[in-house]
Amino acid sequence: MREHFSDLNFETLPGALPALRVAVTAARLVELCRHVRAAGGRLVTLWGEDLRREDSGFRLCVVLEDADDLIAAELPLDAANPTYPDLSEIFPSASRMQRATFDLLGLRTLGGDQRPWLRHGAWPAEVFPLRHDAPALPPSVAHDYPFVRVEGEGVHEVPVGPVHAGTIEPGHFRFSVVGEKVLRLEERFGYTHKGIEKRAEGLDIAAGARLVARVCGDSAAAYAWACAMAIEAVTHTTPPPRALVLRGVLLERERLANHLGDLGGIANDAGFAFGQLQFSRLKEDLLRANEKVWGRRYPMDAIVPGGVCGDIDAEAARILIANMDAIAAEIRALREIYDNHAGLQDRFMSAGTVTPELSARLGMVGLAARGSGGTHDWRNAHALAPYAPMAHAAVSHQSGDVAARVAVRFDEALVSIDLCRQWLAQLPAGAICVPLGAPHAGTLGLGGVEGWRGPVLVAVRLDTGGRIARCHPHDPSWHNWPVLEHAIMDNIVPDFPLINKSFNLAYSGCDL
């Protein structure tokens, strides 16, 4: 990296994540992206910042990931005409992030899809809520979204949502179909946009952490940990070893809870209610054990900057281990039932296939990518404590269909249990939380963990008073939602709920 870009000054960012910061020109940014892409690296996230109060115009931040590091490239943009090159040609998943960055801050790409993404009608096109001089309550406006039309004989459109038939998050799907076969799917989200990034500005650290933990409820531990890590980076705080192990337990139990829920839900969408009943029972057992140990079924605020709150004693550790041992035995039994159920396998196999080539080309991440031949997992890649390098074998399946995404969940659920058992058996002694150090105002703090869907990243800058100046939480679903549009092609409409559930991507996590 450095030898190819010897004109650039790569600085090491503080904190647990191995990350570099580099100031770039537009041309060098494009070259950097191409270089990372060619080397098999990926785009993690991008966002914008308003620095006009410091007379510095705007700033675009792009986080890339190569084999060794995260690289945060910062591109200064003109206050009057903030434009930058379209990166979606290099990284297809950049497109919606760029559209969101325009909606919120008015930073425009030169080329690429220019339609709004997060803005529906809550504010007018000329208002950019994340600008410091934006009106607090802009007027709502009428809104009409230009969907892409598919022409052809016998093609008709089936619009679905935003309010769906079941208890799921709101979003709109527009299918272009011939007969029962899906030619094209176009997603339209942003319904649950809550202005989280705007809300974060000016909050103190504790309130900011509580907010970030609620970006996506099913991934609260992942967000809380990533946020804590980012804040610890810019306050030069090292959380104690015992806290890191307890964070690991919380995150792996969150993964386990979601995998249990999905293993039941996916089977249910394939008409196998037995699976739903069994797995929802196991998930309930897990939540009840949480309640015994942490006093909450969903300990959303257990991970805090500086450590964790709520220690566990030997009895609590015993409860957790017994709970997970029981679940592991049942998972093994149920897996055999799933594997031997011809009707279920018939629905799972070759439904919603994403080939390894397509997955790599579109930049899929996390659980879904590991169902399409990928092995990338931040738990191994960065091996931040308490994860040890290669402490668990990379879970990976090749077939890229619903069956593969189910198999990944089965394997990973058992890995999570193994990790927790190891950690709980030798819990380091000592404090569970330390006070934060003095804030380094303006420095970029990055925190990231492998959440159950994939890598969750939180970027934070503090102001001189130690409050949140800017916070950008990033969900792995940004990368995988566009892939779902491909996965459904040539499948039949009635298989969509099953295929969609096998991805189970976040709405709130991306709507922000």
Partner: protein, 171 residues
């Protein structure tokens, strides 16, 4: 098939009564009230009006065999036109306000609205009257019962549903 039957036999019946007397009582009370007030069953339409999805996790839990909501004569329906009650979560985002209003209007009278979760109660951590959220559900449609919690536990949700039914019964 044999393994499947074995598994069913091994697990047996887990629906509460056994360990949680609270939930059992609730269960029975609910069943009686539903039968008394609605004749047969209570139909609920869930609307996520901007939640973080945490509340939905606990609403899903109501369907697990422990709480066995269906057993109490309560089921979730796909259309507001078939619903007696709306169960609304989230701070209402500006982008969902219209959909929520329409869902409310499409629900036949007399209807009940349960606002579930701290966000639905008061906007929660996301606040009220911001550029992106309106906040409490009551700011958008009339609310009968508020269930607190972030997320509310299944037991709290059951109590909320019971309170809504009782409200209807005494109306």
């Amino acid at each position: 098939m044999w393994r499947l039957l074995q598994q069913i036999k091994k697990v047996g019946l887990v629906s509460e009564p056994k360990p949680a007397p609270d939930a059992t009582m609730l269960q029975r009370q609910l069943q009686e009230q539903v039968r008394r007030v609605f004749g047969r069953a209570l139909a609920i339409r869930q609307v996520d009006a901007g939640s973080c999805n945490g509340c939905e996790l606990e609403i899903h839990a109501l369907h697990n065999p422990y709480y066995n909501l269906e057993g109490a004569g309560i089921h979730f329906v796909a259309s507001p036109r078939h619903a007696d009650a709306l169960l609304v979560t989230g701070p209402v985002s500006r982008h969902m306000a219209e959909a929520l209003r329409r869902t409310y209007d499409a629900t036949p009278e007399p209807k009940l609205v349960i606002a579930a979760g701290d966000c639905a109660a008061c906007g929660g951590v996301f606040g009220e009257n911001t550029c992106a959220t309106i906040g409490a559900v009551a700011n958008v449609v009339p609310v009968d019962v508020v269930v607190r919690g972030c997320p509310p536990t299944p037991t709290a949700l059951l109590q909320g549903i019971l309170a809504a039914i009782s409200k209807r019964a005494s109306a």
